[in-house]
Symmetry: C2
Subunit: 473 residues, 2 copies
C-alpha cells in the first residue's frame, strides 16, 4: 500500500508510519498470543488532531483499520483481522489538564495508566482502575476494553471512572461524548464507547475521575491448605460486611511460579493464598482487619502475614501483579482465560477448572479477583504442538460454558476480541446480538473500525482459528 503510506506520512511525519516487515512483526499480536496476524501498515499520530485526517484518508481509500494502545490486551482485540492498517495511539501521551479541586484529568489516549496516579499522588489522589499491566497499558486501551484490576471490588471498573471521551468516528468525524461532571445527559454514549473494543472508532482523549487516596492500608496474606478453604474464607469476609479494596487468590501453581521468579517468601507448599487489602480512614482499619483475620481462622487458615510496612505491602502486590509474567517461566506459552461467576459459585468453577485440566492433560494455574467472582485460569502450553493448542482452546471453552451455566459470564474484564466471539453467543440470543450489531452499524455500517471483532458475524475469525495467520485483505 505504498500510495496510502505516503498519504499517511504526509499527516504524521516519516517516523509515524511503519511498513517495513521486520518492524511490523512487533505488532503481530497483543497479550493474547494464541493467534497472530501482521498488519500491512502501522500509523502513529503525534497529536489527537492528526487522528481525524488519518481516518479520513483510510475512509476515502475504503480501508479498514484496527486501533491499538500498548498492545497489552488479553483477548486479541488489536489483532489486525481484515484490517490492513493499525492506528496506534501510543504517541498521544500528554496529560493535558489536571483539575485537582474537582478531581479530574484530561489525558490523551496514549497516556500510560500508571502516569495518571503518579501525576496526582502528591495531591493525595489516584486513578482507581489498576489492571496488572498498569505500568504499560494506556488509557485508550483501558477505555476500549473497560479494564478492571484487583481493586475493582471496591472501586469499580474503567467505565465508573470515565466522565467523557473524544471519539473519532471511522469517517473522521469528531464527537465529544459525556462531559466534565458525573452526569451524562442524553443517551449514555460514554458508557457505550467504554468497552466497545475499538469498534466505534478511535478514542483520542478521555476525562477521568480521580479518587482520594485512602488514609491508610492494611494488606494481609492469608495462607490456606486448599483452594476450597480459601474460597470459603472469601465468602465469609464478604458476608461479614467488610468491603476490601482487593481480595485476590493465588493457587499453588502460581505461588510456585511467583516465588521462583521473585523470591518474596511465598509459601510454595500451600494450597492457596488470599491477598486481602483494606483501605480507608485510618481509624477503622485495625478493627476491620481483626475481623478479616477472625474469618480466616474460622476457615482453617494456616498462617496470617500482615504487611508491616509499605515495602512489605509492595512486595506482596509485586508478586500478585507480576504473576502472569512469572508463569512465563513454566512453559513456552500460556493463555490467560477470563470469566466471571456469582461470588458464591467460585468453589464450583474452581472444580470445573481442575477437571478440565485433568481431562485435557494441561497445567492450569489460578490467580484471580476472588471477591468479584472474576476467575483467571492460566493455561500453560507450547504453541509448537498443534494438539496442545487445540486442547487449550477446548479447555477454555469448557470453562467459559461452565461460567455461563453457573449464572456468570464469558468475560470478566478482558473483553471479547477475537478470542470469545463464539462464546458471546453462549450468553446472548440472536435477538440480543442483533441489537448490539444494530448499534455498531449506527456508527460504522461498513465495519471499518476493528472489523470482525466482538460480534459473531465475524466468520473470518471464528472459522479459521490458527496459531499464526496473515491479515486477509
Amino acid at each position: 500500500m505504498p500510495g496510502l503510506a505516503a498519504r499517511l506520512r504526509a499527516i504524521v511525519g516519516d517516523d509515524g508510519v511503519i511498513d517495513h516487515p521486520d518492524t511490523l512483526a512487533v505488532y503481530e499480536c497483543d497479550g493474547y498470543t494464541l493467534e497472530r496476524a501482521v498488519p500491512e501498515v502501522v500509523v502513529l499520530p503525534r497529536t489527537p488532531a492528526e487522528v481525524p485526517p488519518v481516518l479520513r484518508v483510510l475512509w476515502d481509500a475504503g480501508v479498514a483499520f484496527v486501533p491499538r494502545g500498548a498492545g497489552t490486551g488479553l483477548s486479541g482485540g488489536t489483532l489486525p483481522v481484515a484490517a490492513p492498517v493499525m492506528v496506534c495511539t501510543s504517541r498521544l501521551n500528554r496529560i493535558e489538564h489536571v483539575d485537582l479541586p474537582n478531581r479530574r484529568v484530561v489525558a490523551q489516549a496514549g497516556v500510560v495508566n500508571q502516569w495518571i496516579s503518579n501525576a496526582v499522588r502528591a495531591a493525595g489522589l489516584f486513578y482507581a482502575p489498576d489492571p496488572s499491566s498498569q505500568p504499560a497499558c494506556t488509557i485508550g486501551g483501558n477505555v476500549a476494553e473497560n479494564s478492571g484490576g484487583p481493586h475493582t471490588l471496591k472501586y469499580g471498573v474503567t467505565t465508573n471512572h470515565v466522565l467523557g471521551v473524544e471519539l473519532v468516528l471511522p469517517d473522521g468525524e469528531v464527537v465529544q461524548l459525556g462531559g466534565p461532571v458525573e452526569e451524562r445527559p442524553g443517551l449514555d454514549l460514554v458508557g457505550l464507547v467504554v468497552g466497545c473494543e475499538g469498534t466505534f472508532g478511535v478514542v483520542t482523549r478521555a476525562t477521568l475521575r480521580l479518587v482520594r487516596a485512602p488514609e491508610g492500608y492494611r494488606t494481609l496474606l492469608a495462607v490456606f491448605e486448599s483452594v476450597a478453604a480459601a474460597s470459603e474464607a472469601v465468602s465469609g469476609i464478604i458476608a461479614s460486611g467488610i468491603l476490601p479494596a482487593a481480595l485476590e487468590m493465588m493457587d499453588s501453581l502460581i505461588l510456585g511460579a511467583v516465588e521462583a521468579a521473585y523470591r518474596i517468601g511465598l509459601p510454595t507448599d500451600a494450597g492457596a493464598v488470599l491477598l486481602v487489602e483494606l483501605d480507608g480512614q485510618a481509624a477503622g482499619l485495625d478493627p476491620q482487619m481483626a475481623e478479616v483475620e477472625a474469618v480466616c481462622r474460622r476457615h482453617g487458615v494456616r498462617e496470617l502475614r500482615l504487611a508491616r510496612d509499605e515495602a512489605e505491602r509492595a512486595a506482596l502486590w509485586k508478586g500478585r501483579k507480576r504473576a502472569f509474567g512469572a508463569v512465563g517461566r513454566l512453559a513456552p506459552n500460556y493463555c490467560t482465560q477470563d470469566g466471571v461467576v456469582p461470588r458464591t459459585k467460585v468453589p464450583d468453577i474452581l472444580r470445573v477448572i481442575a477437571a478440565a485440566a485433568e481431562r485435557h492433560r494441561l497445567r492450569i494455574g489460578n490467580v484471580f479477583h476472588a471477591g468479584d467472582g472474576n476467575i483467571h485460569p492460566i493455561i500453560l502450553y507450547d504453541e509448537r504442538d498443534p494438539d496442545q493448542v487445540e486442547r487449550v482452546l477446548a479447555a477454555g471453552r469448557e470453562i467459559l460454558e461452565a461460567c455461563v451455566a453457573l449464572g456468570g459470564s464469558v468475560t470478566g474484564e478482558h473483553g471479547i476480541g477475537v478470542e470469545k466471539i463464539r462464546e458471546l453467543g453462549l450468553l446472548f440470543g440472536p435477538d440480543d446480538l442483533r441489537a448490539m450489531m444494530r448499534l455498531r452499524a449506527a456508527f460504522d455500517p461498513e465495519q471499518r473500525a476493528n472489523p470482525h471483532k466482538v460480534f459473531p458475524d465475524a466468520r473470518v475469525c471464528v472459522e479459521t482459528r490458527a496459531p499464526r495467520r496473515q491479515a486477509p485483505m
Copy 2:
C-alpha cells in the same frame, strides 16, 4: 381510537385500557407540570408477557406510544407528545426473584423502589438509589431516568446498580441485555438503556444489585448563617477525605416551608443547613463525624445537631425528602430545576440563582445534593399567570446556561424529557447530537417509542411551549 382500544383490551383485559376522558385526565402530566397533554388511550399490561403483543398491535397500527411508570418524573418524560397511547407499567409489580447470597433481585418494571429495600431489609441489604419519590416511583421509571437521590454521593446512580434489563423494542421484539453478574460483555446496552428516557421501548424487568446495609449511621444537621458558609463547609468536608453517604443543603426558603409543614424543629432563621450522613462500619463513624464537625466549626457553623437515635434521623430525612411537597404550600405551582456544576462551583451557581430570582421577580428555594454539585432550585409560580410562566422558563434557562458555563451540565438527575430539549444543545454540538440520534434510530427509526423527547429534532415540542395542550396526532 375505538378499534385499537378493543384490540388492546383483548390482550390486557377490560380494566387494563383507559380511554374515558375523565380518567385520562389523571395522565395529563408527570411531576413536571409546566406543560400538559392528555393521551387518547392508556394501556396497563398485567404481566411482562403482555407487553410485546401490546407493542405489536401499536406497531401494526402505526401508532406511537409513551411508556410511563408512576409518573413522578420531573422533566416531562412521560408527556404524551405526538404519542396518543401511553403504556403504563404500574401493574407489573412483582419482585420475581431474590438472590441474597449474590445480592441481587429481579423486579418487574412497576415495582416501587422502596419495596426492594423493604423486601431485603431483614437480610441486612438494601437497594441504594433513593430518589425523593422513593415511596412512589417505580424501577422502570428509575431505569428510564437513571434516577439519583441524596445517597448517590457515596453509592452512585441507578446505572451503577442495574445488572440487566429486559427491553421490548417498538416492534415487539424482546431483548435481554446485561446479565446476572457485574460484567456487561459485548456492547454495554444496559448502560445505554438506563437513562434513555423510554426512547428505546419499554423495559419490563430489571436485575438489580443489592448493597449491604451499613453497620451504623451518624446524621448531622449543621446550621449556618449563610449559604456561602455552608458551601465552603461542603468543600472542606470533601477535601478532608471523608466520603459522606449524603451531603445535602437546604436554604432558608426551604427551611421555612418544611418547618411550616412538618414542625420538626428546623431553624427557620438560618441562612442554610447541611444534612450530613455518614454510614459504614460502626468503629469509624464517631471519629469521622468529629472531623466533619470540626470542619463545620472552621466555617462558622452556628449549631450542630447530631441525631441521637433512629427517630431523630428519620425526622431529618423526612424533612429533606418531603421538602418538595412542603414547598407546595407556598405557591399554587412550583418547578424544580435540576442542573449540576463541579463541586467547587456551587457558591458561584448559587449566586447566579439568587440573581435570576431577583431579575425575574421570582421566589426560588434551594434544596440539593451539595456533595455532588447537583443543584435543585425550586421556582415558585402561579400557572394562571402566563407572564409568570414565561419568567419561570427564562430563569430556568439562565440557570442552566450558567451551569454549562461553569463546566457543568443541564441536568443532574432529572433527565431531558420535554423540559430541556433545547438546553441539551448547550452541552453538545450538532455532531455529538447526531451521534445520539443515530443510536436511537438503530432501535426505533420511526420514533415510535416516546417521540419528540430528549433530542432537539423534537420541533413540535420546542416551538409550542404552552401550559396545557393536547397530544397532537
